[in-house]
């Protein structure tokens, strides 16, 4: 199969988040960037699907600036055949989805996989928007996928359970934990990645629907009221009368 995997470049999960003094910018100083963890699942699953099918290609695509290239090289080291970077500063989910749809529309992909959401802006909208822009099905939060005869058999999380479903290729899937374990690049992969193609293309659509007006840090907590292990009844009373949550 010919599979496109969408890669987002996000702050490492241990990052302490802070904003500029005017609250207009996210402080990027000293922040380590990683491949979005859900996108790593998408990449690994794309490789597994092609291994099961006995062949195919995996293209990794990123919409963003040059500082994401180390992570695109990492995607190549994990096993993607080639990578594409749309050279622009993305503004919102629609901006990213429009660029990817523009790139993908005449390339004959059988499947596009992305993470269920990025762990920085958490919009979770690129998969659905891509589906609509390409007029393909989109299936969110998939936890299992196999393909045969131009059709995919899937499981996905739904509110209060799980759904088993079928979708005809091509379609867009957003990947949820449990789909697979992310693959780590080995030395051979890292060596090979250096000579794999990484194509840089200009942005084609440059259209956003939203913008960040200001950021805000979470309100600080008042402080913890400590009780002794023997004071469980007092705790229950506090939850009832003071906190009013039970």
């Amino acid at each position: 199969m010919k599979i496109l995997v969408c890669i987002s470049n996000v702050p490492d999960t241990t990052t302490k988040i802070s904003f500029s003094s005017d609250n207009k910018e996210f402080n990027k100083a000293g922040v380590q960037y990683i491949i979005n963890p859900y996108d790593e699942l998408a990449l690994t699953k794309a490789l597994e699907l092609n291994e099961a099918a006995g062949g195919g290609t995996v293209t990794a695509i990123h919409v963003g600036q040059v500082d994401a290239e180390p992570n695109l090289r990492k995607a190549l080291a994990v096993g993607a055949d080639d990578a594409v970077r749309i050279d622009t500063a993305p503004v919102d989910g629609f901006f990213v989805a429009s660029e990817i749809a523009h790139f993908a529309k005449d390339k004959g992909f059988d499947l596009i996989l992305c993470g269920r959401e990025s762990i920085d802006y958490n919009g979770g909208m690129v998969a659905g928007m891509l589906g609509e822009l390409l007029d393909w099905p989109s299936v969110n939060v998939i936890t299992s996928i196999t393909t045969s005869g131009g059709e995919a058999h899937l499981e996905r999380d739904i509110d209060g359970g799980r759904e088993v479903l079928k979708a005809k290729l091509p379609f867009v899937g957003s990947c949820q934990k449990e789909l697979t374990e992310p693959r780590i690049p080995n030395m051979r992969g890292i060596m090979m990645a250096r000579s794999k193609p990484l194509l840089v293309l200009p942005a084609a659509t440059n259209t956003a629907h939203t913008q960040v007006a200001t950021y805000a840090a979470p309100a600080p907590k008042a402080g913890c009221k400590f009780l002794e292990p023997s004071q469980v009844e007092e705790l229950v009373q506090l939850l009832h009368t003071e906190a009013k949550v039970i």
Partner: protein
């Protein structure tokens, strides 16, 4: 220029998240000087649908095409877009549930409407339209400005108080002509978890970490959840070690929740975990280590061994529940 709100149809009835978003939509409509049209897709009795009036809907549009009983993002987006257009919607409100997350992006493209997903407060409307949503997996917030004529807001569950002040609303039945060709994927089977409160909807959550020492000790956690009517959750290491299934994992790479009460037992409170639960209204932490980071964001803390505290706490909760 109505506000249109999509109330999810849960096999003929509504869940609390739907009442929340109708109340939220009603507040937006008041700001805009307009009214709320609620949309229900699939089979439901009129009397049930009309109940949305209690929460602020001026009318309910119901498309009872039986095919819409099965959720499919393409078909549902088409149906909802049709109603939104016919009502002249300027704002469309959804719940940021799995269904809402699948539907909203497709609707956004169909209506050329900006989408703010995971909103946590009412928008500010004065010249521009901005709404607060959590970003960086709850480690921060962003005011998002929506720059299109039509706007879509999906509200994080448990972010807005249900307001029941109105009376039953008239129900208008429509046929939207959704047919099999509109369904781009085919549902084979829906497996609903029964006897368990879904974590994303839970108002009370009991969560545990590695401090429980092994999956065989989870009966104490489940017992507390049963006493309280709470959902159970766990930390990332616990789900990684397969002590519990991944759908219980809360944190930055798991589920983000904001219940009224979050009880954390034997979880130290790594920054990734705290990100997923810091929106909880009240947090109780029980941990042997008094330096555990969880105590920094907790409201109530007990420094102690879970194996010692839990049996006593469960007994105290049982007694409380029996008396109240």
């Amino acid at each position: 220029m109505a506000v249109v709100v999509f109330a999810e149809n849960n096999a003929g009835s509504f869940k609390k998240a739907s009442f929340e978003i109708v109340s939220y939509a009603a507040a937006i409509a008041r700001m805009m000087g307009t009214s709320v049209t609620a949309v229900v897709l699939g089979s439901m009795e009129d009397a049930v649908a009309s109940e949305l009036g209690t929460y602020g809907a001026a009318k309910v549009v119901k498309a009872a095409d039986a095919s819409l009983d099965t959720f499919e993002s393409h078909a549902h987006a088409k149906a909802l877009a049709e109603v939104a257009k016919s009502e002249g919607a300027k704002v469309v409100v959804l719940a940021n549930t799995y269904a809402g997350k699948a539907l909203a992006p497709r609707l956004s493209v169909k209506l050329s409407a900006a989408l703010a997903s995971g909103a946590v407060a009412l928008p500010e409307i004065n010249g521009s339209f901005t709404v607060l949503r959590s970003v960086f997996s709850n480690k921060g917030f962003a005011n998002i400005q929506l720059d299109t004529d039509v706007k879509i807001v999906s509200l994080t569950p448990n972010s807005y108080k249900v307001v029941a002040e109105g009376s039953a609303a008239p129900v208008e039945n429509r046929s939207l002509g959704i047919s099999a060709v509109d369904f781009k994927s085919t549902s084979v089977e829906v497996k609903t978890v029964t006897g368990k409160i879904p974590l994303t909807e839970a108002e009370l959550v009991v969560s545990a970490g590695r401090g429980m020492k092994g999956p065989e000790n989870w009966h104490m956690i489940e017992e507390m959840a049963t006493i309280l009517g709470a959902a159970t959750a766990c930390s990332k290491p616990v789900s990684d070690m397969h002590w519990r299934t991944h759908d219980e994992h809360v944190g930055q790479t798991g589920i983000t929740i904001k219940p009224n009460l979050y009880i954390a037992i034997g979880i130290s409170g790594a920054i990734q975990h705290l990100a997923g639960v810091s929106g909880s209204k009240v947090i109780v932490a029980i941990n042997t280590d008094k330096e555990a980071p969880f105590f920094k964001i907790a409201d109530y803390g007990i420094v102690g061994d879970a194996f010692e505290v839990l049996p006593k706490l469960n007994e105290a909760l049982s007694k409380f529940k029996a008396a109240n």
